[in-house]
């Protein structure tokens, strides 16, 4: 029964796509579309087939981009979370860095791109650097506000139980902050992907971003749209992974998660 309902809801989603893509294709087939601007879906599909299956040229670019994004994300998150933890524990440190955090928030990270390229060159490191730069802030601010959320009665409870500061942190403060921290991480990973791709524009030899730019500048629209679709796939992969981790680690945010884990714990006994 579950399989059938799964297929049905998948079809419902697919219907919307089928309608739009179908109309698009028909419109192009009857000559109503300037194919220089907007190639028909079948052409894009063929290009995708070529890139993924026939020549398989896309895989290298795909993985290079993913890797640059992942490293940038990891570095950005590490810095962001560490600074946030330090700021949560030391009001003095928080005061010192507060204005700089605000300034950082207001600067468009993208604007720094030329400088980053000047400093890091045309290779992988400049992509990683931009990804780190643009994705570091959400984990920072979310971890900080998550940790600063104080529940007076929880504090009183832990005090009467004779808990140490460290116990309070690991058993209450940190788990309590997890929902917000993960929201920041989800935002960061999408932003990191964005940063990586933008950094590739005009300064890379490999990666999905530069691939798309090359196609576009040669006016090979099918190619550039196919690259765009590839980026969508990457985005969806990343998004799904983030959602999955979120739902499994911060399971108590919704009822389904609670029921699932409750049953697991009961089995363990």
């Amino acid at each position: 029964m579950k399989i059938v309902s799964g297929i049905v809801s998948f079809l419902k989603y697919a219907l919307s796509f089928i309608i739009v893509l179908g109309t698009w294709e028909l419109y192009a087939a009857y000559g109503g579309l300037n194919e220089l601007f907007l190639p028909r879906p079948s052409k894009i599909g063929l290009k995708l087939y070529d890139m993924f299956i026939e020549t398989g040229m896309i895989y290298y670019h795909f993985f290079v981009t993913l890797l640059e994004m992942a490293i940038g994300f990891l570095i950005g998150v590490t810095i962001g979370v560490s600074l946030a933890v330090a700021a949560a524990f030391s009001p003095r440190f928080r005061r010192y860095i507060a204005p700089y955090a605000v300034v950082f928030n207001v600067t468009p990270g993208i604007a720094v791109l030329p400088l980053i390229i000047a400093w890091f060159g045309f290779g992988w490191s400049s992509k990683i650097a931009l990804a780190t730069l643009v994705c570091f802030f959400p984990p920072f601010i979310n971890t900080l506000t998550g940790l600063l959320k104080s529940d007076d009665e929880a504090i009183e409870l832990f005090q009467t139980l004779g808990a140490t500061q460290s116990q309070y942190f690991w058993k209450q403060q940190l788990p309590n902050a997890l929902p917000e921290i993960f929201a920041g991480l989800k935002l960061a990973i999408t932003t990191a992907l964005l940063g990586t791709i933008v950094a590739q524009f005009g300064s890379a030899s490999e990666g999905v971003g530069i691939l798309m730019q090359r196609f576009a500048f040669r006016l090979d629209m099918a190619g550039s749209f196919a690259s765009l679709v590839t980026m969508s796939i990457m985005g969806l992969m990343v998004f799904t992974l983030a959602e999955f981790l979120d739902r499994h680690i911060v399971f108590w945010r919704n009822l389904d998660g609670l029921e699932r884990v409750s049953r697991q714990r009961a089995k363990k006994g």
Binding site: V106, T107, P114, T145, T190, F217, G235
Partner: protein, 281 residues
């Protein structure tokens, strides 16, 4: 610009210790200056603060190059934000009012959320050229998502009991929309505007980096290419400065529209309305 909310940045608690911060800042600048003069870092990575200040004076007052480019980037961003917001809000309102539309648009929204929309940049530049239109188009594309999601969520997230109240008073769907849903949604909607403004800037800048004739993105690239890093820093600071001013203006507008969020303002407006009633018209 990133996505932190005002409440979150307020936790950083800035205002009280201004002289203290100025002192720390001055010390940091001194340290930076010394690092450069002592040769520990070169002009490429860490141009002297004094040079940067001179560059700023130059581009703003002497040469006055920057105004032109600032205007260009801001125009692209604001226009893009405006268009993006209109489209985003329009789609959101339609989705709220029409259930079929909502169902059909949902998969596309998920797709759009996962795709880095800014990546469409090269396509727009290739098709629309180096001028304003590609930057505005990209800015609009990037900016539309924030207002869409926020407007949709804000309008949908209506208090059940308040809705029942309106129904019991015999209000029409439109009246409920105007007098209940819209005001309730305002905080989220205006947060969406801020998101749009922030994203639009990124969009405009990226379009400029890819290929453009003018704008701050172009200016910064040029300065970097010429290796006059102090000018590049100066240009970057200008963008930040004006972006900050814009941010503050939007915050103020936000503050005045959603007056019931702040107690003081709420009381003063309440007082004003009371006085208007008392005074014989």
């Amino acid at each position: 610009m990133s996505y932190a909310t005002t409440e979150q940045t307020k936790k950083l608690n800035l205002t009280k210790t201004l002289p203290f911060h100025l002192l720390i800042f001055a010390l940091l600048m001194l340290l930076w200056e010394m690092i450069n003069r002592l040769g520990i870092a070169d002009d490429l990575v860490a141009p002297r603060p004094t040079d940067i200040v001179m560059a700023m004076a130059d581009i703003f007052f002497i040469d006055q190059t920057v105004w032109h480019h600032l205007a260009s980037t801001f125009a692209k961003a604001l226009l893009g934000a405006f268009i993006g917001t209109l489209i985003g809000m329009g789609l959101a309102i339609t989705a709220v009012l029409n259930e079929t539309f909502r169902k059909y648009i949902k998969p596309w929204i998920i797709l759009m959320e996962a795709t880095p929309r800014i990546a469409v940049g090269p396509i727009f530049v290739a098709l629309l050229g180096f001028g304003m239109s590609s930057a505005v188009a990209l800015a609009a594309l990037v900016a539309f998502f924030g207002p869409f999601v926020n407007t949709y969520q804000g309008l949908m997230d209506v208090d059940h009991e308040e809705e029942e109240l309106f129904r019991s008073l015999g209000a029409s769907k439109f009246q409920t929309f105007r007098k209940l849903r819209l005001p309730t949604a305002m905080p989220l909607i205006s947060a969406g505007w801020k998101l749009a403004a922030a994203s639009a800037f990124s969009g405009a800048l990226v379009a400029e980096f890819i290929q453009a004739s003018e704008g701050m993105g172009v200016l910064i690239s040029q300065y970097v290419t010429m290796l006059t890093m102090h000018y590049a820093f100066a240009a970057l600071l200008s963008v930040t400065l004006f972006g900050y001013i814009l941010f503050k203006i939007m915050e103020y507008v936000d503050y005045r529209i959603i007056f019931w969020r702040d107690d003081q303002l709420m009381y003063s407006i309440s007082e004003k309305k009371r006085n208007k009633m008392r005074a014989p018209a």
